[in-house]
Amino acid sequence: MMNEDFPLPTPGPESAPYWAGLREGRLLIQKCGCCGKLRHYPRPVCDDCFSMQCDWVQVSGRGTIHSWTRTHHAFLPAFRADAPYILVTVDLEEGPRMNARLRGDGQDPIIGASVICKFEAHDDNWTFPSFALV
């Protein structure tokens, strides 16, 4: 269903590989090409060694819930049909964090619970991450 109000991403050169990875069902994050530090969200410079070299590496998608909120008030019309919905902040096994919808039975999430990343096709062009309880 086309929704003209939906806030689609507008990727730039630094983030395009992330979105391409999601389309292929792979969760990719940046790894410093010099010191190897992982970072997310995508950005041009490593904050440890200041290198602008970077590789994209696939991470497991496994993690644990760090925090969460359940949204009842849809602030944009595009999300009105979804409310209430749960957003979880997840500590990925590899270190960086993600924020995404939690799919499942709608119960209050438990901080520390194990989750795994899923890939949800929004339309022909866009795939967004979500998490499911393990």
């Binding site: 806030p7 909120t69 008030h73 944009l76 999300f79 964090r97 919808r101 901080i111």
Partner: protein, 383 residues
Amino acid sequence: MSLRDRAAVAGVGETAYTRGSGRSGLALSLEASLAAVADAGLSPRDIDGVIPMIGRGAIAEDIIANFGISNLRFSAQVPMGGASPVASLQCAAAAISAGLCRHVLILIGRDAFAGGRAATRVHQIPAFRTVGEFELPLGAVSPAQLYAPMARRHMEQYGTTIRDFAEIAVTTRQHAALNDRAIMRKPITIEDHHASRMISDPFRLLDCSQENDGGAAVIVSHPDAARELARPRVLISGTAEGHPDSPASITQRGDLTRLGTAKAAPIAFAMAGMQPSDIDVAEIYDCFTYIVLCQIEDLGFCAKGEGGRFIREKGIGLNGALPVNTHGGLLSQGHMAGMNHIVELVRQLRGEGGPAQVKDAEIGLVTGYGDMGDGSIAIMRRG
């Protein structure tokens, strides 16, 4: 060299706060600015520096055009969301101290009830560009949703409860009930808070600040000039801004329970030569109840995690150990991005607090918070 006592607030002004004024943010910000100029006993043409808030109010060019200023010597913008007004005090004090100008107008005008609501305003702030691409499509679109995980994490780590949040909402409303310039004046109870509808768990409606129209402005002047002006002088004794780790992305911030305020507070207190126990009254940025609790900790009034207990046992009412948001704050007076907090602190320190006057208030503190976690602080004293 420090900025201690190198600038003073000489004038404050505000419009009525309403829900639907039919007026532009530009007109509202100019009306408030004229009120601040008159309060100081200045002519609009005496203004030689201006720091407008980013948004729908006046910009520097509007001030020049409307006030007929022939030689504006300093203009700047401070893009820190709700931390901007208080951080602008630091910016103004630095410019005055450097001799660039003598009277800096800091102003805001908002037609938020009619137009720029929070969920759209946040998308316009530069810092949100970094995170918006990744979190907007998931449905994380408003400050309530972005800050809720911080509050949830605080509850998990420290046992903070929604009852603690409710205490802040109820006490703030008690203060608003004393203020005829406040929008929300009807008293509320803990039960009213718990029964208000959920916005983004754990935030209920009565944990959230409101949307309204209005304008507010302050004038920061050279301390020698301020001494000669109409109103009792209020000196800026300590001021600082602080940016949290991972400033744009809350999701990626190592410790979700610490704001930029935690970095700014020790600098501001050291500059002022004061400590938290010296503070008689505090106007603390309150976009959400939890943000007040978190700042009480980050400011050093108690240890991290003890904010709920501090509020329960020490008290933030007019007779408490630390009277907080004596005007009713963003939660109940009105949302002027915290410019109204500066206005209120200056009035308290002049003894113009009306029914909410804190007895013998001589030293006070005002904070700003915004832009995903930035903090700003100013410690002021009558003198």
